[in-house]
Symmetry: C2
Subunit: 430 residues, 2 copies
């Protein structure tokens, strides 16, 4: 349940998609690492908030207690701490596992790929953070998924807002996860949940509502820096100062047109400590001039300065910021688009089929194909002793092989091969 | 235990190795598929003989009873049966899991990659089987691992030998797995195990010994086809006939020099039904003219005509033959060789570092790097506001970046960039 086989057409589409993502990561100078699918259970415990109950555990068959990784970020942090690495730019493309309710048409699976890019190290503020946003912008633009917006916020700003609205600190995390629902439900419902389920006072909820419904750009940052309450809060002020710097860098990158500073963005994971962001695709066909509706998150990430320290015996921190591309949802979109277009993706790269027009020529085919392979040419033949020529040409058409190299008795006698262009039926002897 | 992280240098080496293997599979016209790491436990049960006790099971957290895949062959057979596919040439490169005793210096892990190529379908005998052996030959030659031999046998020949030596049929599998140890221990010990542990009579064991110590080529096949006892056994005769045909095709491929028909080869897995093979590397430095010693198996495979039928509700069979490349052992060898050579593998592909020689030029760097990325150039910069030029050039040397694009105040004023070759220190303004 919640997993799937990839048939060749799907595997080919996925390879194309992953290679677009990986080439962006490489363009930004990241190195690849790989970590096991299995982690010690204790490594994963307490890192994912409500997500922790979705972790797959392995049966105790003796030895260590293991679980399947839930994301690639926690294993990365564990890797950095274990190897005492304080400086690294890496990408990792691999499967992760969550015992979630699958919604496969929307691209939600229990086994799914993540494509992560992270920068670890002590640097000047917001430079690596800006690069992560640039990467999201490049990938979503390259893949031509249609219009998108990248929402940005900062956990420090959010916590500052909650503090100045009178929420006690031990209620920050549940309050955050309620705020996070503003992209899926109207403010009235979010407010109701805050008051009824999270135990906030109606007045606090109203005050929060005034902030978290705001979104904008540099203007909004300036406005909040002047806000009489928020500017008094140390955390919020730090976050806003950094947000201003981030927007400066994003302006130099030329991408602020797709960036929205959005105070409702909270993100579910416990480990974020600073900037957080999430990219959403906007509805395409919208003839009525309404505000474009979101069709779901396709990338997300943020800063997590405390996670590596949780794995270091002395608690030494390594600041990190990273992004994860939501490859499954993008894959679903591309798959549906491909289906709608009727285009057939080739599943092999074979350049030439070695064929014979008469019987008793298997030996000639085996010798010729052997020469082609030795020359690095992608070649196939039918696994029949005496296949009909029509069948062989049909196979080319079915699988998209552009050329047939034909050896018959005459060609053998003349020491030549007849090369046939399958589509045009043109032949040359060579 | 028995798993490992891949640091960037290892991940880069692995990428190089896997891409050599995959390009061979693509040269032979295979399509990629992907299946989940998780399989239903019932899918894996009873397919691996003694290996079954090494299967990792997932904890029962409600829902289906799951296990981690043990190889890629059984999931492939399950995939074919589930989708009623009767004809397919596919490759699959992915991790598999075995609760084995790890021997990590020899490349034996609990989580490890397999690289499989398989041909499913009803074809004329031995043509796909010969291609599998050709693939092993190409890959081991391409990787320049040194001398190797590919041992070939047939389960039907082996069973025929056991039958004519008087072994009862229900004792074939244990007798086979004892025979299989002939590459690791002398015949005397194998004989002792047969008699003491497998309950064979000393006479039967002696008769078996006369056969299973034989190895050779076409001559040996001809000799056994004339063998008064073996030629009376239907299975053995079929197997020997096919072996002769196989050698004919391998001769046309020009690879018989590395092929040894070896009657001691048995292979452990239950599902093989016909041709089986295993490639072993031969000891390199052998100054004393001794027979080259094997340093372990690096590829193996065979024909399994019954496996798909085990997953089909009506038991419909799909004949299959395939090969698995033992990538971990090869990886160990390449890793040790790289270490010995002192060569440093680059872990990134960055072409140019964007650098500044004075302070307050971060904006210039951000704008220039943005242009380079847009042009598809792999570019990095240090995440510091005002890094020293020396530090920037040092970073190029440490990570192998060949070029630095330098913008200083003068270059900004002149509207140029200074491009520096890091190794030669030559500079051009452009």
């Amino acid at each position: 349940q919640g997993t799937r086989d990839h048939a060749p057409a799907q595997a080919a589409l996925r390879e194309r998609l992953l290679s677009a993502v990986v080439s962006c990561f490489k363009r930004h100078g990241a190195a690849a690492i790989d970590t096991p699918v299995l982690e010690l259970r204790e490594v994963l415990v307490g890192k994912y908030g409500e997500g922790s109950k979705l972790i797959y555990e392995l049966q105790d068959q003796g030895g260590e207690l293991l679980a399947l990784r839930y994301d690639l970020t926690v294993p990365f942090a564990r890797y950095l701490a274990m190897n005492k690495i304080t400086n690294m730019k890496r990408y990792h493309v691999a499967k992760v596992y969550r015992r979630d309710n699958p919604a496969t048409t929307r691209g939600r699976y229990r086994e799914f790929y993540q494509c992560d890019f992270d920068i670890a190290g002590q640097f000047d503020p917001m430079i690596p953070d800006a690069e992560c946003l640039k990467i999201v912008h490049e990938i979503l633009s390259d893949l031509q998924l249609g219009d998108f917006v990248i929402k940005v916020n900062d956990r420090r700003i959010l916590n500052g807002v909650l503090a100045v609205c009178g929420v006690p600190e031990n209620n920050f995390i549940p309050a955050c996860s309620t705020v996070d629902k503003l992209d899926k439900m109207p403010w009235e419902e979010v407010r109701r949940e805050m008051v009824r389920e999270r135990g906030l006072s109606p007045e606090a909820a109203d005050r929060i509502g005034e902030y978290v419904q705001l979104h904008g750009g540099l203007d909004l940052i300036e406005q909040l820096l002047q806000d009489p309450k928020l500017s008094q809060n140390k955390l919020a002020k730090e976050g806003l100062g950094d947000m201003k710097l981030l927007f400066e860098y994003l302006t130099l990158f030329g991408i602020t047109g797709k960036i929205s500073f959005d105070l409702s963005l909270a993100r579910g994971l416990d480990y974020y400590t600073g900037v957080i962001f999430e990219a959403v695709l906007l509805q395409q066909d919208n003839e009525h001039g309404e505000e474009p509706a979101s069709v779901g998150s396709v990338a997300g990430g943020g800063r997590y300065d405390g996670l590596v320290g949780m794995f270091d015996p002395k608690g030494r921190k390594v600041p990190c910021v990273g992004v994860s591309i939501g490859i499954e949802r993008i894959f679903s979109i591309l798959e549906q688009r491909l289906e709608a277009s009727g285009e057939k993706l080739r599943t092999t790269e074979t350049q030439v089929l070695v064929a014979t027009p008469q019987k008793h020529l298997l030996a000639a085919r085996l010798k010729l194909i052997s020469e082609l392979w030795a020359a690095g040419i992608k070649a196939e033949m039918l696994y029949k002793k005496d296949p009909k020529l029509l069948k062989q040409l049909q196979y080319c058409e079915d699988t998209g092989i552009p050329l047939a190299a034909i050896v018959g008795e005459q060609e053998l006698a003349d020491g030549v091969v007849k090369l046939r262009d399958v589509a045009t039926r043109q032949e040359v002897r060579m």
